[in-house]
């Protein structure tokens, strides 16, 4: 009898212990949003853009850049995998102005020596006007702090933080 009681007590105690939360899958975000956010963070890190409320200085920009890096790596890998496929390149160029990724794509094509045909080159050059990129960055500047992507990065950034002073 006492053994049964002990077992019962043990079972009750164990069942009341909190089960560890299941690891949540990282939220997926559109490639364009990740690229544009990375560019915004880079501009603030390079002090080419003024800090914003949730990125008050270059240290915070640097931390968020480290945090977004794994996501950006996936985006770059995905895009690089498309570089051998002309129809996919055409689709990327067609949509790049909507996602504010035209200048980024142009850098990627140059680096990977992707030769665009005349029509695609012209289209990309027309679409990647600096004025448009600035408009995109201004938009990102105004919306980034409220975005779901920022919320996700903000939750994850502790893993990437490093404070030399408190080491």
């Amino acid at each position: 009898m006492p053994v049964k009681i002990i077992l019962l007590l043990l079972m009750t105690a164990c069942s009341s212990l909190e089960t560890p939360p299941k690891p949540q899958a990282a939220k997926e975000f559109a490639h364009g949003e990740i690229i544009l956010s990375t560019q915004l963070l880079t501009k603030i890190f390079d002090q080419e853009m003024a800090p914003i409320k949730c990125i008050p200085d270059t240290d915070e920009a640097s931390l968020l850049l480290r945090t977004i890096h794994p996501r950006m790596e996936v985006v770059q890998d995905d895009l690089e995998a498309m570089l051998d496929n002309e129809p996919e390149i055409q689709t990327l160029i067609d949509k790049c102005d909507q996602s504010c990724t035209c200048p980024f794509l142009d850098d990627l094509f140059r680096e990977h020596l992707v030769v665009l045909n005349k029509k695609m080159r012209k289209m990309l050059d027309t679409k990647k006007k600096e004025k448009d990129l600035n408009a995109c960055l201004n938009y990102a500047q105004q919306t980034f702090c409220e975005s779901e992507l920022y919320k996700a990065l903000n939750q994850e950034k502790a893993d990437f933080s490093f404070d030399e002073e408190t080491e």
Partner: protein, 424 residues
């Protein structure tokens, strides 16, 4: 008539007693003032002699230091006796300057002393006499001009620059003085103490989950840089970077992924045979804050073991993918328990992102200029063409202005030995 006088008698007695007491007190005060004045003057004189001697010793070392600038490396300069003695002299001079200021403050705050014109003149003439003995006496009071109200009207003050001859004259005059020799020995002793403090016997870096087990580059001696490349090897880009390093006579540390070494064994060997340092960057570049204990075992312990085996070299340094987990005690403990020192960076070139090589160059140089000692760890990735394209300009910059590029092992070994003479 008598009665009122009688009544006043006690009062008269009191008054006369007070007078007598006052005159005794006055005579005592006069003696004490004279004594105080004597002591203060003596103290002032002793401190003026001290400050002069320390300045002479300092000037002697300054000549030696300046003579060595052209022929000696900058980091080595700071270990030379001349520099260490200058540091010791500086500390002593500052102490004596404070003592002189204290004497003058005491004098000013003692009303009885400062209100007496004779006292004022005695203090003033002591300082003026001292400042007129020689240019070096004048120089010794340079920092105290404001406090001592030294007039800028004597001939010595007109002489703006001290010549080497002035200093040598003063030194040869003092060389026979016992006091000068005692002070010189004192400075030598203090400089030895400074040197032993600099050469702290305990190593600065070693495998540890605490600060000693993590390098950022902010600790490096002035003008010392470590070029580091992550994520490789990759055939074409690693090869271009290796050739550029060889052409420029530079060495770098390659934080390799074991999976990449397995995929590109020839390139990995070329980097090793090119005299570059091999370090680990995990097995597959997973974010180690998300992999759990078995993942850590594979990404750190197994990765390093296999890298050692395939490269045939000892692995001393590890860098976390994305720098994730550098603050995690369990991850840092795992790195340390494998005998590794973690390497962070103080210049993030952000070359992992697609951009023009020019942008990488301008950002890298801007960040390098912001480091406090023009020193540190540069983070690059040898898997990108843009990085290879940016390298010529960055290497050119690294070779300018007496900068030195060393492998991490060279820097750590020499810093642990307590020397700042890092790499050839």
């Amino acid at each position: 008539m008598k009665r009122p006088l009688m009544k006043l008698l006690p009062l008269l007695l009191i008054v006369s007693a007070c007078g007598a007491y006052k005159s005794i007190k006055l005579s005592r005060s006069a003696a004490s003032i004279a004594e105080d004045q004597g002591l203060l003057l003596q103290e002032l004189e002793e401190n003026l002699t001290k400050i002069h001697l320390y300045h002479v010793i300092g000037q002697k070392q300054l000549i030696l230091f300046d003579e060595q600038i052209e022929s000696t490396d900058i980091a080595e300069m700071y270990e030379r006796p001349a520099y260490l003695k200058l540091q010791a002299v500086r500390a002593q001079i500052e102490e004596v300057e404070h003592e002189i200021i204290d004497v003058m403050e005491t004098f000013k705050n003692e009303k009885a002393l400062s209100s007496d014109l004779k006292n004022k003149l005695a203090m003033r003439s002591k300082i003026n006499e001292f400042s007129q003995i020689s240019p070096l006496h004048q120089l010794a009071l340079e920092n105290l001009k404001g406090h001592l109200k030294i007039k800028n009207d004597n001939k010595i003050l007109m002489k703006k620059n001290l010549s080497k001859l002035d200093i040598e004259k003063e030194i040869s005059f003092l060389n026979s003085s016992n006091q000068y020799q005692v002070f010189d020995k004192n400075i030598e002793h203090l400089s030895y103490m400074l040197e032993s403090n600099l050469r702290d016997l305990s190593p600065k870096f070693y495998p540890s989950s605490l600060k000693a087990g993590n390098i950022t580059g902010n600790e490096f001696p002035a003008k010392v840089w470590s070029l580091t490349f992550d994520d490789g090897p990759k055939n074409d880009t690693s090869s271009q970077i290796l050739n550029l390093l060889k052409t420029n006579g530079l060495k770098a540390t390659f934080f390799q992924l074991t999976s990449q070494v397995e995929n590109n064994p020839d390139m990995a060997k070329k980097i090793r045979d090119g005299g570059m340092e091999i370090a680990s960057h995990s097995y597959t570049h997973k974010q180690l804050t998300k992999v759990g204990a078995s993942g850590l075992e594979k990404e750190i312990t197994v990765a390093v073991k296999e890298l050692k085996k395939s490269q045939g070299v000892d692995i001393k340094f590890f860098r976390l993918p994305y720098g994730a987990g550098v603050n995690s005690p369990s991850i840092r403990e795992k790195i340390a328990s494998n005998g590794l020192i973690h390497v962070f960076w103080n210049v993030d070139t952000l070359d992992w992102m697609a951009q023009s090589p020019d942008k990488i160059v301008s950002r890298t140089l801007a960040l390098m200029k912001k480091t406090p000692r023009d020193a540190g760890v540069l983070l690059f990735h040898d898997i990108h063409q843009r990085t290879a394209d940016a390298m010529p300009q960055i290497m050119d910059y690294l070779k300018q202005d007496r900068r030195r590029v060393c492998t991490l092992n060279e820097i750590v070994t020499q810093m642990n030995q307590g020397t700042n003479t890092v790499c050839p």
